[in-house]
């Protein structure tokens, strides 16, 4: 039988059985569109999803329980592994919360370094999205192109913190002194590496350039537009009800950015815009993130001009005993609101640490948003939410 005949036969077979009974489709547990392990159990009628149940927990590491037997300094290493793409940005609200409980304030220079590194990680996280999301939609070119540029940024981060992903660079009362080894007793701090600001300025030019390149490759791409415009629309009231935050919330027309409303780190001394869109579809979520990279570049350029000289650490006791109290501390992570509810009973370890991780809430809308969608749109919608499974499972 020739190939053509085979094709005709199979088409005939399909046309006879066009009545497709509902079935249950198991997707995963692998990574269908993002990093980590997620399983979806979908009930489908033909190509249409009628009900979907995400199954999570494959990466549950029990950080909230572990935190009850860890000192505050040790917890810092745990929390930057919650959302591993934005490690530093997870440390910031935790450390700020502990500082609030202890009544300690980091020196100005340390605050600015925190701000600059947070924005580095925001660009890094968004660039990962910019490389992987088009790939999920079938555009392979941006992947390597964008990842290559991201590497320049990761090198900067490594130059300051010594790590590419898990910096563990915050300390209660400042940032890590004595970078670059040396004996523990040496009291002088090494500060930022030599030539850092010049390198930052150069890298920021590259980031501007890659944003333009992404615009050329992706933003105007007809196929990408066809796959994302008016797909997976999340209205503002639903986004708020499910606790979506960050770019996912702002794409639905809610102009809400913790960098503007909460007074943490010296964001109030910087001129930047909150990027938002009104459509709430996959394309808008993509555009908000692209716009945020440009804003972060703006923020970093201003920050390296303003950053004052000075110490990196306030004086704190070597053994941290946090006074009794309860605090909720949150900050704008690349993916949205990241917060910690810290309950201290006056000891070296917290009595309870609730981690409000961003992706957990962002993903909880899946059963609602994927209802009555087509299977081919599933990856487009899930990818556009930009979640990290480690952040979902904690």
């Amino acid at each position: 039988m020739t190939h053509r005949e085979l094709m005709h036969r199979s088409e005939a077979a399909v046309s006879v059985e066009l009545e497709t009974p509902g079935m249950t489709l198991n997707i995963g547990p692998q990574h269908p569109s993002t990093h980590g392990v997620l399983r979806l159990v979908a009930k489908v009628e033909g190509e249409r999803i009628t009900e979907i149940e995400p199954v999570i927990g494959y990466m549950h590491r029990g950080y909230e329980k572990l935190s009850e037997v860890r000192t505050y300094a040790q917890i810092n290493t745990l929390v930057n592994r919650v959302d591993w793409v934005s490690g530093f940005a997870n440390e910031v609200p935790f450390i700020l919360g502990v500082e609030r409980l202890m009544g300690v304030e980091a020196p100005e220079r340390a605050q600015w370094i925190r701000l600059i590194l947070t924005e580095f990680f925001r660009i890094s996280s968004h660039l990962l999205f910019m490389s992987s999301y088009p790939l999920e939609l079938g555009a392979t070119t941006p992947l390597m192109h964008v990842l290559r540029e991201r590497e320049y940024l990761l090198e900067l981060i490594e130059g300051v913190t010594g790590g590419r992903f898990h910096p563990n660079f915050n300390r209660v009362g400042g940032v890590k002194p004595n970078y670059g080894g040396g004996s523990q007793t040496k009291k002088q701090s090494m500060d930022l590496p030599a030539g850092f600001f010049k390198l930052v300025a150069e890298t920021m030019d590259r980031m501007d350039q890659i944003c333009d390149d992404i615009d050329t490759l992706v933003t105007g791409n007809e196929l990408i537009k066809a796959r994302t415009i008016d797909v997976g629309v999340i209205p503002a009231d639903k986004a708020i009800e499910y606790g979506l935050s960050g770019p996912n919330l702002r794409a639905s027309g809610v102009v809400y950015d913790l960098r503007k409303v909460e007074s943490y780190l010296p964001y109030d001394q910087i001129d930047f815009d909150v990027i938002s869109r009104t459509g709430g579809d996959c394309y808008d979520r993509y555009l908000v993130r692209l716009g945020e990279i440009r804003e972060s570049v703006k923020i970093i350029r201003q920050a390296i001009d303003i950053i004052p000289a000075g110490p990196l650490q306030a004086k704190v006791p070597r053994v941290l005993k946090v006074p009794r109290g309860q605090v909720y501390s949150r900050a704008e992570n690349p993916k949205g609101e990241f917060g910690y509810y810290i309950v201290s009973e006056g000891g070296k370890m917290p009595y309870r640490l609730k981690i409000r991780s961003t992706s957990f809430s962002n993903l909880s809308i899946l059963p609602w948003i994927l209802n009555d969608q087509l299977i081919p749109d599933l990856v487009a919608i899930m990818g556009s939410l930009d979640f990290v499974l480690g952040d979902v499972d904690r």
Binding site: L101, E105, G174, P177, S263, P266, Q326, Y341, E345, Y351
Partner: protein
């Protein structure tokens, strides 16, 4: 917050105090506290769903829901500072916030240990389902009205509620930590060396 590290009572004027008192009065809540810029409003268990739905008119954003196990029986961690005075209980907490300002309130309901049941928010807040499922498996709290309280993180056949203070960290008991890290004594508390 960076420019006002501690506003927990020493200062005379605290706008958050006014905000919290007005809020709890309007909602008919029992009492409130403002600590480190964190507003907690205590709600009676029977009015939990009703109060939170009323509060969502001005604080629409559902941030999170979780619980604390206040317990003397601690297998892990350091425990509470004054075990004699402790009232054994669960505290269920739900944080709502504004989407235009920094306003946010943590609503707290106290549940007795032998009757840890509270109304579910899922009828009006879709996002509460996962948070309630997590609190259910981790603490054993029942949310009446949540029809899908199946385990979220834990395996289906898991026994116990891991975030209870009485629940040991089993991994450590089965297999001791291989390194010396935990064996090494922590520096003495009176060693005020200073890191800078």
């Amino acid at each position: 917050m960076s420019d006002q590290p501690d506003t927990s009572g020493d200062t005379d004027v605290n706008p958050l105090e006014d905000y919290a008192s007005e809020m709890s009065e309007r909602l008919g809540a029992q009492e409130f506290s403002v600590e480190f810029d964190t507003v907690r409003v205590l709600v009676e268990r029977d009015k939990w769903v009703e109060t939170i739905n009323a509060a969502r008119k001005e604080l629409p954003f559902f941030s999170w829901l979780s619980a604390i196990d206040w317990s003397r029986d601690t297998e892990v961690g350091e425990g509470v500072s004054d075990p004699e005075d402790l009232e054994e209980r669960f505290e269920v907490m739900c944080r709502l916030s504004s989407v235009t300002s920094a306003d946010g309130v943590i609503f707290v309901a106290t549940l007795p240990k032998d009757d840890a049941t509270i109304g579910s928010l899922t009828a009006t807040i879709g996002g509460a389902e996962w948070h309630e499922r997590e609190a259910h498996e981790m603490f054993g709290i029942m949310f009446e009205g949540n029809t899908n309280l199946v385990p979220l993180y834990l395996p289906d056949d898991f026994i116990g509620n891991p975030l209870l203070k009485s629940f040991p960290l089993i991994a450590r008991e089965v297999k001791p930590w291989p390194g010396d890290v935990d064996v090494e004594a922590l520096p003495e508390a009176d060693d005020e060396g200073g890191a800078s």
